[in-house]
Symmetry: C2
């Protein structure tokens, strides 16, 4: 007897679509919706995706996925920390998901890491639903504060060796984080050999932001270098970062960090080699 013909059932087709620009969209199939909440600051969405695993979305923009966040987190954390001679005190602006904090705490040289994020709900959701990401948010070496980072920076008496600015995209309350007044406030809370890094978006999708951030950083800090790497789920997959320093050379790693999946000393040096189209974008005169 032949087996009965069974029509294959179709899966429910649920897709997360990010409008990366007005003319470009990335869509990921969704297998489960894990968490949704609208806070005073943003809309939080956590979903499971077959392509990239668990995925955190804020206001429609993918912030991180379990499968590729190491590309971003490691390049934000290890480049400034490995290039700093004594990275004892580190500040993370934003970064409530805890991914960069986790990387910072790999360094035995780091004595305290202060994380200031405006939205407690992101911190709580990451601890609960993104265990590989939020795993260090209760580490005793982490000083996690829920408040407006701009206000914290203007009022604190603390001083830092490294500041890592892990903001959302430069819209709404995060827009001020890419301008000279903010960079001056950061400079004021850095020690004399301090260093900062900040994401500066994609050179294909948001050229204007990248140029503005670098130009304004250069008006405040004596040493500013752009570097880049791959982050598959960010627009265009080619992602840039700016490192600004009061003294140490951000392009040269001084020590190693074990257990990384993207970062190495060779990758650190390589990331500062810019394709000509990219160096021309930041060096050209602009309006």
């Amino acid at each position: 007897m032949e087996a009965p013909v069974v029509r294959a059932r179709r899966d429910n087709s649920l897709w997360l679509t990010e409008e990366q620009t007005d003319h470009m969209r990335l869509s990921l199939k969704v297998s489960d919706i894990i968490f949704q909440k609208t806070t005073p600051w943003q809309k939080i969405l956590i979903v499971d995706t077959p392509e990239y695993g668990r995925t955190l979305v804020l206001d429609g923009a993918i912030q991180l996925t379990e499968r590729d966040e190491f590309c971003y987190s490691e390049m934000m954390a290890h480049v400034p920390i490995c290039a700093h001679p004594r990275p004892a005190r580190v500040l993370i602006v934003g970064g409530g998901d805890g991914a960069i904090l986790r990387e910072v705490l790999r360094h035995p040289e780091v004595e305290t890491c202060t994380l200031v994020d405006i939205d407690m709900e992101v911190i709580e959701a990451s601890k609960k639903y993104l265990p590989t990401v939020g795993c260090e948010l209760e580490n005793p070496g982490a000083d996690v504060r829920c408040m407006d980072a701009l206000e914290y920076i203007r009022t604190t008496d603390e001083r830092f060796d490294v500041a890592i600015v892990d903001s959302t995209d430069p819209v709404d309350f995060a827009a001020g984080l890419f301008q000279a007044p903010f960079y001056r406030d950061i400079k004021n809370i850095l020690n004399p050999d301090g260093m900062m890094v900040e994401l500066t978006e994609s050179p294909f999708a948001d050229t204007a932001l990248m140029r503005q951030a670098v130009r304004q950083m250069r008006s405040v800090f004596p040493i500013v270098h752009l570097y880049w790497g791959a982050v598959p789920t960010y627009p265009t997959g080619m992602w840039t970062y700016a490192a600004a320093s009061l003294a140490p050379d951000p392009t040269t790693p001084l020590r190693d960090v074990p257990g990384t999946r993207y970062y190495t000393g060779a990758i650190h040096r390589a990331a500062f080699a810019l394709p000509p189209f990219l160096s021309e974008l930041i060096d050209a005169q602009s309006h």
Copy 2:
């Protein structure tokens, strides 16, 4: 008198969607359809997109866009040619659009460049509709042949210094281009200090192909190195290439090439610095 209220007209919303994997899609807004044709080999589509300019699509996969093809074309052409001591004779397998040919012909050391593509319609469409890409297809230094490259390689008496394998994705008639018998055929038409490069897909989207290609290449060539770069419109934006050599070191550039937008000697060296997750993928034992 107040101006009359005019409802903004909506644009026609036409999108090109590539199913990059079963669970991930990239969509580009389309402003115009320029050319469509089904050949014995594939479906050709050329569209204009606001995000990336004119775009060539074969069988649903984006092959190149005017705005980002230099990332891919330069890394395919200049890495092997700049690392070869005497790159007089170059072979391009596939590449009928002419983008890599254009880059190869920048090198005064190259005496002839033979391009063998199975589909004359791609060559003709590129000359006509992609002028910045197909511009050198009638250059007297280019020997453009329309035939099955596998057959050409098995039967030709010509010998080459550099072979560049610019195939479509490893399905259908291109699947054989990522296996040891093909690499042996390529080796047979290389001079004793010959070198080849081939695209090996994304380490996030097609890990299996990348591992297979590198493993089979290593069974044929004494020197095989993976390198990588950004190509925004290819799946995940992080793209890998394999360089196989009979003698010269592919990782070391011997000369410069003017007028590039992605490639430099520093980028050449940097591209061989692999993130640990990537080197582990190709060095691990696999089935």
